[in-house]
């Protein structure tokens, strides 16, 4: 009989189990579990707090069952792997159990303020001490084993289950958005079927799971089918299909604020503002490889220039129309870009990051300062910025009545600017200019020796990035109607950078997804607000470890010629989740 578990495997299991235990304890101690323990995911079945706790042994079990990176040892069979997952889950559960035991015996609230009796009762399933420990450990082990089971099961099933679970989670998360809207639009029957006490009903959750899993199962063959038939179609049909797809997308985007209501439109506006910033910073960091941590400076310059030029209450008091002021604003921001770019031309990497970080702070301090108060308004900022966009639209088109207010209106110009910026960035990235930037990012001195004037291209990156960032600032000023220095702290720079890193450096689809996920989702999960920075940090660390190239990495242009290989590459990439070490 073969050894059930080798020494090395045992060590690995113990390590993963320990990490899982630490994460579980951490989630409890920082209060995340407590904050979400009453938010229903499936009402009466599971809450968000429980989902969080259970996700840890699930992922840990999954990872424990992954083949070890060192291939020299014996490869464990499926049963063995499930045992690994079970053990990992048991470790995490047992540690949590012991923690609950200690916490209920000794009052730890003096140090760990978040460990409240209700939380402990929640974790112990309301069971008395002793029984609770058994239950926690057991559930941990079970979930860990499930995670492992997921890994050893065929990819199709794994994808289906994962996608089903994600669908359930997603549908329950958007409850605060969807339900009021459904009720507003008189779809009360649907909303009652879907939701109960802010969570999904059991029937609805089963439906969501089935739909999610079904979609995953049908995705691959469906995709294949669609691609085949498109490829088989004559050029003209293909062009028509593409035209229609774009038309449908455009219409969907245009009517989105109408369907979604004001709140979601407000979220979309925020996402749009950050997306503009991210598209601009992506030129500097993603394309040209210049790590600029003071990017908020351009956002601020754009906002303040707009305020100065358009607000009758500003020190200039000229009250130019927005669209007259905009070219001046962009020009000014471009110059600021050059101004900040020029002195840091010789700096590389970390040095550049630190100096630009300083610039960003200097900008904020200047805007805040009393010395410049007569012009910039100091902490009071500048008020009375008029919006060039109508406050409300009230239109009767035949039988349809269009009514939009505030963000529902602002959504359109912001969307238009984002689309423009994305198209421009895309064109640049696929041109001589984008390649020169990339070359500079990869190896500055070789790029120079290959014929790229690195000075010019750095300045160009700074100037274009600054212009895009200031555009976002201008729209931000208009949206608020006022500017305050407090809006331009370093956290804006960090958030924008996080959007790019999450999405994928240098990848426009990635940046868009990053902005939606990082800016949009937290708005939907209002309880998260307190934990926003914590979650950002966790997300970034996880990304760096698991997928440093971002959600939608930029992999250069795909080419028909290359289809066969790119599929192979796909597979190796999936298998190799670890970052490549020792390579820059």
């Amino acid at each position: 009989m073969a050894e059930l578990i080798s020494g090395r495997q045992l060590r690995r299991v113990a390590t993963i189990g320990a990490v899982a235990a630490v994460v579980v304890l951490y989630l409890c101690m920082v209060g995340l579990v407590e904050a979400f323990k009453d938010r229903n995911v499936v009402t009466g079945v599971i809450t968000l707090g429980a989902v969080m706790l259970l996700a840890v042994p699930l992922i840990a079990g999954y990872r424990a069952a992954l083949p070890a990176r060192d291939p020299s040892g014996p490869t464990p069979g499926p049963a063995q792997r499930i045992v690994f997952g079970l053990l990992v889950g048991l470790i995490a559960g047992a540690v949590l159990g012991v923690f609950v035991l200690i916490a209920s015996a000794v009052d730890v609230r003096g140090v760990l303020v978040r460990i409240s009796p209700p939380l402990l009762a929640f974790i112990s399933f309301g069971l008395p001490s002793g029984l609770a420990q058994l239950a926690i450990t057991g559930v941990g082990g079970l979930v860990g084993a499930l995670g492992a089971l997921l890994l050893v099961s065929p990819a199709r099933i794994r994808n289906a289950v994962t996608s089903g679970l994600v669908a359930v989670l997603f549908m329950s998360m958007i409850e605060p958005l969807l339900r009021p809207r459904l009720e507003q639009l008189d779809y009360t029957a649907i909303s009652d079927f879907l939701y109960k006490a802010h969570g999904l009903t059991e029937m609805a959750s089963i439906l969501c799971f089935v739909v999610g899993a079904g979609a995953a199962l049908l995705w691959q063959p469906g995709n294949e089918l669609v691609r085949r038939s498109i490829e088989a179609a004559p050029v003209q049909t293909r062009r028509r299909i593409r035209g229609w797809t774009i038309a449908v997308l455009v219409v969907a985007v245009l009517i989105l604020p109408q369907v979604s209501g004001t709140f979601l439109a407000q979220v979309a506006v925020l996402v749009g503002l950050y997306l503009l910033l991210a598209l601009g910073l992506n030129i500097v960091v993603g394309y040209a490889g210049l790590l600029d941590l003071g990017y908020v400076a351009f956002f601020a310059v754009g906002a303040y220039l707009t305020a100065l030029l358009t607000s009758p209450d500003s020190s200039l008091g000229i009250g130019l129309p927005f669209f007259v002021a905009l070219p001046i604003v962009m020009l000014g921001a471009g110059m600021t870009g050059l101004l900040i770019g020029a002195p840091v031309l010789r700096l590389r990497g970390d040095y550049l990051a630190i100096v630009t970080l300083g610039f960003g702070e200097i900008a904020r301090v200047l805007f805040e300062s009393d010395a410049l108060r007569p012009w910039l308004g100091g902490v009071q900022g500048i008020l009375g910025i008029p919006s060039p966009f109508p406050v409300r639209i009230d239109l009767q088109l035949g039988t349809t009545h269009i009514f939009a207010t505030g963000p529902q209106v602002l959504y359109y110009p912001i969307f238009a600017f984002c689309a423009l910026a994305a198209v421009f960035a895309y064109r640049l990235s696929n041109s001589r200019i984008g390649r020169a930037w990339n070359a500079m990012r990869e190896d500055e001195s070789v790029a120079e020796a290959t014929g790229v004037s690195t000075v010019n291209y750095k300045l160009l990156a700074f100037a274009l990035g600054a212009t895009t960032g200031c555009l976002s600032g201008a729209l931000f000023a208009v949206q608020l109607g006022s500017v305050f220095p407090g809006s331009f702290d370093v956290f804006v720079s960090i958030t924008v950078l996080a959007v790019i890193i999450l999405g994928g450096m240098g990848s426009i689809p990635g940046v868009i997804l990053g902005a939606i996920v990082l800016i949009g989702l937290p708005e939907l999960l209002r309880e998260f607000v307190e934990y926003r920075i914590l979650v950002y940090g966790a997300v970034l660390v996880a990304m760096m470890l698991l997928r440093p190239e971002g959600l939608i990495p930029n992999r250069g242009r795909q080419r028909e010629l290359h289809e066969a290989e790119s599929e192979e590459e796909e597979e190796t990439l999936d298998g190799d989740l670890m970052p490549q070490r020792g390579q820059t």
């Binding site: 001589r432 390649r435 990339n438 990869e442 790229v452 004037s453 795909q558 290359h562």
Partner: protein, 271 residues
């Protein structure tokens, strides 16, 4: 030494593409190049050899503007190279490869070659942003030409979309060569192009170098340690030792030059 070096005035009347006089480079305390005189006739293949640390790469770095000479002159095709930025040198028509391969690792193979073409392309950023038709046309032409260069250096086209860092070693050397060729250089500087290659690959590279000169009317300056390559392909050879030019001549002359044998081959024999 004065017997070996050819004084400028008495050079044979071939057309000289590169002439270097009294080139000196000092790194604090160390003279990496001392008073080097050097000429390359147009469309010749010239080799530069010498023991490790002789100053060969330093010589390349000065020609390409990466480091500035302490003193001396360098003239390429009638233009002085002194004080020029590397990208200006590239524009003049000097391209190079590196001793330790330096590709743009996270760019595709095709993009690496296309960057090489950068100096010969005209699209400005605002034209690219607007999406003018001539930008797309230029792009397509350069792409086409880059594929041809991949063919020329023997890098299969199916690698075009792979990241440069994922290429096998021999192909990386080829890619570096394709990138250098993309700028239509007049003078190609190769820093140990066969380093780390097996005998088969080395032979292919040697053939390729000879072919390039024939087909592209190139002038090639080659740093190389492999004597078979050097003797097989070059018309003239310059020998450096401790930063000084100790010999210059045809392969036959160099092979029999006692100073070279002592400085170079002798050292290797005793090592």
């Amino acid at each position: 030494m004065s017997l070996l070096s050819t004084p400028p005035g008495t050079a044979p009347m071939t057309d000289v593409i590169l002439s270097v006089h009294h080139l000196t480079k000092r790194f604090e305390g160390l003279v990496a190049n001392r008073e080097i005189d050097f000429e390359i006739p147009r469309q010749a293949i010239v080799s530069m050899i010498g023991p490790n640390g002789a100053g060969k790469t330093t010589f390349f770095n000065q020609l390409t503007g990466i480091i500035e000479p302490t003193s001396g002159t360098m003239e390429f095709d009638g233009t002085s190279l002194i004080g020029m930025a590397p990208h200006e040198v590239a524009e003049l028509g000097i391209a190079r490869t590196y001793q330790n391969i330096r590709l743009f690792a996270n760019m595709t193979v095709l993009a690496n070659v296309m960057v090489g073409r950068h100096v010969r392309m005209k699209a400005q950023w605002y034209e690219a942003v607007i999406g003018l038709p001539h930008v797309a046309r230029e792009e397509a032409e350069v792409e086409q030409r880059s594929f041809e260069l991949l063919d020329l250096v023997g890098l299969p086209r199916r690698y075009a979309d792979d990241l440069a860092k994922n290429l096998p070693y021999g192909h990386q050397r080829r890619l570096e060569l394709a990138r250098a060729l993309a700028s239509d250089p007049k003078l190609l500087l190769l820093d140990e192009p066969t380093a780390g290659m097996n005998p088969g690959e080395t032979r292919q590279m040697t053939d390729l170098i000879a072919r390039l000169r024939r087909e592209l009317d190139l002038t090639i300056l080659l740093i190389e340690h492999d004597m078979k390559v050097v003797m097989g392909v070059s018309e003239r050879i310059t020998v450096l030792d401790y930063g000084e030019r100790i010999a210059e001549g045809t392969p036959e002359e160099i092979r029999t030059n006692p100073r070279v044998i002592e400085a170079y081959l002798g050292k290797q024999a005793t090592a």
